[in-house]
C-alpha cells in the first residue's frame, strides 16, 4: 500500500511540476463554467415565465444540474486523453520504466498507483465544480441527494475512461499516438448507441449496455442502481487488467 501511495503521489506531483496540471484544470473549469452557465440562463428565463403564469413547477435538479453533469462527459472526452497519454508512454520513452520494473514492486502496485494519481487529478478538477454547486445552494434550493449521486457517477465514469486511457498509453512510446488513440476510443464508446435506431432489438440492448454514457443517466437523476455501479467498477477493473497484461507482455517481448 505504501508503494501504491508513493507512485500515486509521484504521478500527481508530475502533473503539477509541469504546466500540464494547471492547464488541464483551467480548461476544465472554463468549459464546465460554460456548460453550467447556459442551462442556468435558460432556467432563469423559464422561472421568470412561470412566475408570471404559475401552475407548472420547475425542478432545478432536472433542468440544470442533470444537464451540466451530462455535459461534463464531453469535457472528459477531450481532457482525459491528455491526462493519461503520458502515464506509461513517457516512462517508456525516458527509460524510467526500467526503474519501476526493477524495483521491488508488483505490477498491480505500479498500475494502481498510476490510476490513483490520475484519479486524484480528476478529483481535483471535479472539486472546482463544487463552487458552482454552492452558488445554487446559496441562491436556490436544490436537492442535494441527486447532486451527490451525480458526483459518484462522474467519478465512476471518469475511472472507466482513465483506466482505458492508461491501457492505451501502455501500448506506445509516443504520447501523441496515445492521446489520439485514446480520444478515438472514447469517442467511439460515446457514440456507440447512435446506430441503435436501425439495428435489431438484441443489438440495440447490447449497445445500450456497452455505452459508457448510457449508464450515467440514472446517476444524474439521483438513482444509484447497482447494475450501473457494477458496470463501471468492472469496466475499471478490466481496463487495469488489460494494462497489466500489456506491461507484462512488453516484458516478454523486451
Amino acid at each position: 500500500m505504501r508503494n501504491v501511495a508513493a507512485i500515486a503521489q509521484r504521478e500527481l506531483n508530475a502533473y503539477f511540476s509541469s504546466p500540464i496540471g494547471y492547464v488541464l484544470i483551467g480548461f476544465f473549469a472554463l468549459l464546465f463554467g460554460w456548460f453550467f452557465y447556459v442551462p442556468l440562463a435558460f432556467f432563469e428565463q423559464q422561472s421568470m415565465q412561470s412566475a408570471m403564469n404559475p401552475g407548472q413547477a420547475l425542478n432545478i435538479n432536472q433542468m440544470l444540474v442533470g444537464p451540466a453533469f451530462m455535459n461534463t462527459t464531453v469535457i472528459m472526452l477531450l481532457v482525459f486523453p491528455l491526462i493519461t497519454m503520458r502515464t506509461y508512454s513517457e516512462e517508456k520513452r525516458s527509460g524510467t520504466i526500467e526503474l519501476l520494473l526493477t524495483s521491488p514492486l508488483t505490477d498491480v502496485e505500479i498500475i494502481l498507483g498510476k490510476f490513483l494519481g490520475a484519479m486524484a487529478l480528476y478529483t481535483a478538477m471535479l472539486s472546482i465544480t463544487l463552487i458552482h454547486m454552492s452558488i445554487l445552494f446559496i441562491f436556490g434550493d436544490p436537492e442535494w441527494k441527486p447532486i451527490a449521486t451525480g458526483y459518484l457517477g462522474l467519478l465512476l465514469m471518469g475511472g472507466c475512461f482513465l483506466s482505458l486511457g492508461l491501457f492505451i498509453s501502455s501500448l506506445t512510446k509516443n504520447q501523441i499516438v496515445a492521446a489520439m488513440a485514446t480520444f478515438a476510443v472514447f469517442l467511439m464508446l460515446w457514440v456507440l448507441n447512435w446506430i441503435s435506431t436501425f439495428v435489431g432489438p438484441t443489438t440495440q440492448a447490447v449497445l445500450a449496455h456497452l455505452s459508457i454514457t448510457e449508464h450515467f443517466d440514472d446517476f444524474a437523476k439521483g438513482i444509484i442502481d447497482t447494475k450501473h455501479v457494477i458496470y463501471y467498477l468492472s469496466f475499471i477493473a478490466f481496463g487495469l487488467f488489460l494494462t497489466m497484461k500489456s506491461v507484462d507482455s512488453e516484458r516478454w517481448r523486451g
Binding site: 527509460g95 526500467e98 526493477t102 521491488p104
Partner: protein, 338 residues
Amino acid sequence: MIEVQNLSKRYGPFTAVDDVSFRAESGEILGFLGPNGAGKTTTMRIITGYMPASEGTAIVAGHDVFAQPIEAKRKTGYLPETPPLYPDMTVREYLTFVAKIKGVRKDIKGRVDEVMKRTWVADMANRHCAKLSKGYKQRVGLAQALIHNPEVLVLDEPTAGLDPKQIIETRQLIRELAGNHTIVLSTHILPEVSQTCQKVVIINKGKVVAIDTPDALTERLRGAVTMYVQAQGPVDDIERALLNVSGVVRVNVADRKDDTGIFEVDTEKGADVRRELSTVVVRGGWGLLELRPVRVSLEDIFLSLTTEEPATGLADESANTAAMTDTASNHGEEAPHA
C-alpha cells in the same frame, strides 16, 4: 552472490543471449566485457528482473529472479545504460521517491543525504534532474542504485559520459563498495576491467567467450605464444606436419590461397618451437614464406575473441599492438593514469 546458469534470451529468430553462465562471489567485482550489441545489457536486464529469460536461471543473493522477483529486486541495485531519472523532480525528491519504492522504511532522509554525499551529488540536491550535466545524471543514477544498500549492484557502463576525473572517482567508489556488495559492471573499455574487476566475462554475439581474472587472462596468453606461419605447398599436408611438431598444441588454418596457407600455431607455455617449425616445413620440400611470433595483449584477446575474422584480425593487429595501446588510451574515454 550472483549465479547465472545457461541463460538464453531470444527475440523471435534472433538470439540476443545464448547459453550464458557465470558466477560472482560476495564482495567480488565482475566485469562484463563485450562490443556494443553483444548482449551485455540484455543479460543485466534479466539479472535485475526487468525481463524474463527464454531459458536458464539467474539467482541473485539467494533468490531466483523469476520465481521470487520481489525478494531478489529488494537486494539488487541497478544502474541502466541511461540513468532512469524523472526530469521534473529535484535530485532530493527523486532519491526520496526511489528510497520509498525500493522499500527503505526507516530514516529515508538520512539515507538520501548519505548516498548523495557518497556519490558527490549533494551540491545538486535541489536541482531538477533535467538540468543536470551528463556526469551528474550518471552519478544520481548511481546514487539511485545504492539507496537501499543492496547486496548486489548491477551497473551498466557506469563510467560512460563522465570526464576523466569523474571516471577515476567512480572507479574508486566502485572498488570501495566491493567489500560489502557483489558488483557486476559492464563496459567496453578494457583498462577499466583490469583496473577494477577481479573477474572478467567476455561476451560476444550473446555467447561467453572467456571467463577468468584479468591477470590470468593475459598471463594465459603471454606464456603461450602463437606463431604465425605462411607456407607454400599442399595446405593439408603442411597442417599435418606442423601438428606433429612436439610442443604444438593446435594448428589453425587461417587462410588458404591456391598453394599457400596461413597457419596459426598455438604452442605450449615456454616452448620455443620456431626452429622445429621451420625445419619441418623445409624438410617437406615446401616454401617457408613467413614465420613470426604473435604477441598478445588484453586488447588482442578481446579483439580475437570478439571480431568477425579472428584469424586475420589477430595477425594484423599484433603488428600494431604498440600503436593500438596508444590509441586506446587516447580515446578520450580513458582517464590519464594517476
